[in-house]
């Protein structure tokens, strides 16, 4: 992204955030697997688990592809 300044690409920060959020959401989904939160619909689908896993995969892809060391 940056030719003049050699800034860490914004995509790396995006990947980092998705990765951290993915881990937190996946863990909270696993913790609540057998005790789903009250008042939430479709808890049988365990959305936090697969959504968290999706964020982790995307986050990892972005982090690895745009890792500052690999760039240089």
């Amino acid at each position: 992204m940056s030719e003049k300044h050699h800034i860490i690409p914004v995509w790396f920060f995006v990947g980092f955030l998705l990765l951290v959020y993915g881990v937190l959401i996946l863990v909270s989904g696993l913790v609540g697997w057998s005790h789903p939160p009250a008042g939430v619909e479709l808890t049988n689908l365990h959305a936090p688990v697969w959504w968290g896993a999706l964020l982790i995969v995307l986050g990892l892809i972005y982090c690895l592809k745009y890792c500052p060391k690999r760039e240089s």
Partner: protein, 567 residues
């Protein structure tokens, strides 16, 4: 801080668990960290105000579309979708896509090649100081007021939805924005807009996915809406537009096509500096042309996370939402539909992500306003009228100071609005006064070299004056609604479309008239500024896959197909 956040309002729409608060805290830490990291790169004026003009088309395009994807926008349009149905999608499709493609394929080369730093800056090059000063002063003034109004409105939303203390929301979020924009300038603003783009999509996309599963797909959702609200049409975009009385907005398709599509939307997407500034940060002309076109594809998809949740609210919520001014204790408003749907499907963790998306949208909107304000103040007001020949570092310093001062004025405006709520309506109307005529002035100046210096100024002034006059007449005497909006049934959104249309027509008529009776500027002064005298780089050697016009046409084709599907 957590204790202050928890000074709750009596009832809140959603409740946050520890993991949700952790997700929000991580976001704040990251944006501040990015701001401090980028500070060392924002040394020159071009770095601070235009992010070094080195953004790729993708980064500039996502920032361009994100600058408009604020939280109030999301909450408001989901509420409008609940109220008016899929018709609200017009603001995302006919009210955005043609204008974005027009900006990318027609107007962007002139903005970019002229090396201007802002829209008032272009007006100065094209028309001279009169039109530029009028545009710069009004833009700077309105941006700060709008920033304050948004700040207050979002703090109210946070109080109602989460129970957060009003002062906490205003102070913490504005100081965070102030620190990271003052540190990294447009670099910071753009980085955070890209982050916000991902947060909003991943925070909100689960609502339509789970909603569609619950209702059994589109046809199941439509059947449920018909069952819950018999005899009302919420799922067709153009059908109910054949007459004023067939839709709850009181609008005719002519107003949608010409008022919204041809004027309001063109004005906003092509001349509002807040969004145009993002594209000016692109690294070359081709990227600058491509950025709004990339943005148009994502903009077309936004109804998935805004309009569809509103419609799903009609289908699945066990109670009916009411207009904001009629809500009694215990009742929910139209604008509550998005948080209500979030609470319906999202437990701990996902809720934190959804709320972080709203907070991020709010802060990115504020950052957009203050970064645009700092640029226009420094380059279009301070430099030409107050201190002409200072070194570049002085203007960067002024940019940093004006960012912080602009934020403090915004905070003041937010508290002013708290004590005088009617001011909010007037400030939000302010932008409408200027954007539509400004489009007439800019596009005539780009496409017709004959337009003279004074024609630009008088056309803009006449357009703005007519816009204010029409607004006031319709607001204080409903008989004028029939005159200007062609029907007494026209609701405020429909009235605004007609107001924009008439003001742009006035601007164009006055500009043409004054042009014909005044002397044109010599051709030498207009090189690089108007269509007939600008050498736009050719793209014969670029593969067709990389040509902006190809993707522009693709965007328009998808746009037309969507209109037919949801006719």
């Amino acid at each position: 801080m957590i204790a202050l956040m928890a000074m709750s309002a009596p009832t809140t729409l959603v409740h946050l668990a520890g993991v949700d608060l952790a997700i929000i805290a991580i976001y704040f830490a990251l944006v501040l960290g990015i701001g401090f990291y980028l500070k060392k790169f924002a040394k020159t004026g071009e770095d601070f105000f235009l992010a070094g003009r080195e953004m790729t088309a993708w980064v500039a395009g996502l920032a361009f579309v994100s600058a408009n994807l604020g939280s109030l926008e999301l909450l408001g349009w989901a509420g409008n979708a609940y109220q008016y149905g899929i018709m609200a999608g017009h603001w995302y499709w006919v009210g955005a896509i043609p204008a974005m493609v027009f900006l990318g394929t027609v107007m962007m080369p002139f903005y970019y090649i002229s090396r201007t730093h802002s829209v008032p800056g272009y007006l100065k090059l094209r028309y001279g100081t009169e039109a530029s000063a009028l545009s710069a002063v009004t833009f700077a003034f309105m941006t700060i007021l709008m920033s304050g109004v948004n700040m207050y409105a979002m703090a109210v939303v946070m109080e109602v939805v989460l129970g957060w203390n009003l002062h906490f929301s205003i102070i913490v979020s504005s100081l965070t924005v102030g620190v990271y924009v003052a540190a990294g300038g447009l670099f910071s603003a753009i980085f955070n807009e890209v982050l916000q783009f991902f947060l909003i999509w991943f925070g909100a996309l689960l609502i339509p996915i789970l909603g569609m599963i619950e209702t059994g797909g589109w046809s199941g959702m439509v059947a449920r809406i018909h069952q819950n609200f018999p005899g009302q049409d919420f799922t067709h975009m153009w059908g109910p537009m054949s007459s004023f009385d067939k839709n709850p907005m009181g609008v005719h398709w002519i107003a949608i096509v010409f008022g919204l599509g041809a004027v309001q939307s063109m004005g906003y997407w092509t001349t509002d500096f807040l969004v145009v500034q993002r594209v000016l940060s692109a690294k070359d002309v081709r990227s600058a042309k491509l950025a709004p076109i990339i943005g148009s594809f994502f903009k077309m998809a936004v109804p998935l996370i805004v309009i569809l949740p509103g419609l799903l609210g009609r289908a699945v919520l066990p109670y009916h939402l009411v207009p904001g001014n009629q809500a009694q204790p215990g009742q929910f408003k139209y604008d509550d539909v998005l948080p209500l749907m979030l609470a319906r499907y999202c437990g701990p963790g996902l809720m934190g992500l959804g709320i972080t998306a709203l907070v991020a949208g709010f802060m990115a909107g504020m950052a957009g306003n203050v970064s645009a304000f700092a640029t226009v103040w420094t380059y279009d007001i301070y430099r030409p009228y107050l201190r002409k020949d200072a070194p570049d570092s002085h203007y960067v310093s002024m940019g940093r100071w004006s960012t912080m001062i602009g934020l403090f004025v915004s905070i003041g405006t937010a508290y002013l609005v708290q004590y005088n709520k009617s001011m909010m309506d007037y400030v939000q109307a302010l932008f409408g006064f200027f954007i539509a005529p400004l489009f007439g002035t800019v596009v005539l100046g780009m496409l017709w070299k004959r337009v003279s210096r004074m024609a630009g100024f008088w056309g803009l002034l006449a357009g703005v004056s007519s816009s204010i006059t029409i607004f006031l007449l319709m607001k204080f005497d409903e008989r004028w609604v029939r005159v200007f909006a062609l029907s007494p049934l026209a609701q405020p959104l429909a009235q605004a479309m007609w107001q924009a249309l008439w003001s742009c027509v006035t601007c164009v008529a006055v500009t043409v008239f004054v042009t014909l009776v005044t002397k044109p500027r010599p051709d030498e002064e207009l090189k690089g500024l108007v269509y007939a005298l600008t050498e736009v780089p050719k793209e014969e050697n670029t593969s067709w896959l990389h040509r902006p016009v190809v993707w522009g046409v693709a965007a328009l084709v998808i746009f037309v197909v969507l209109q037919i599907i949801f006719w």
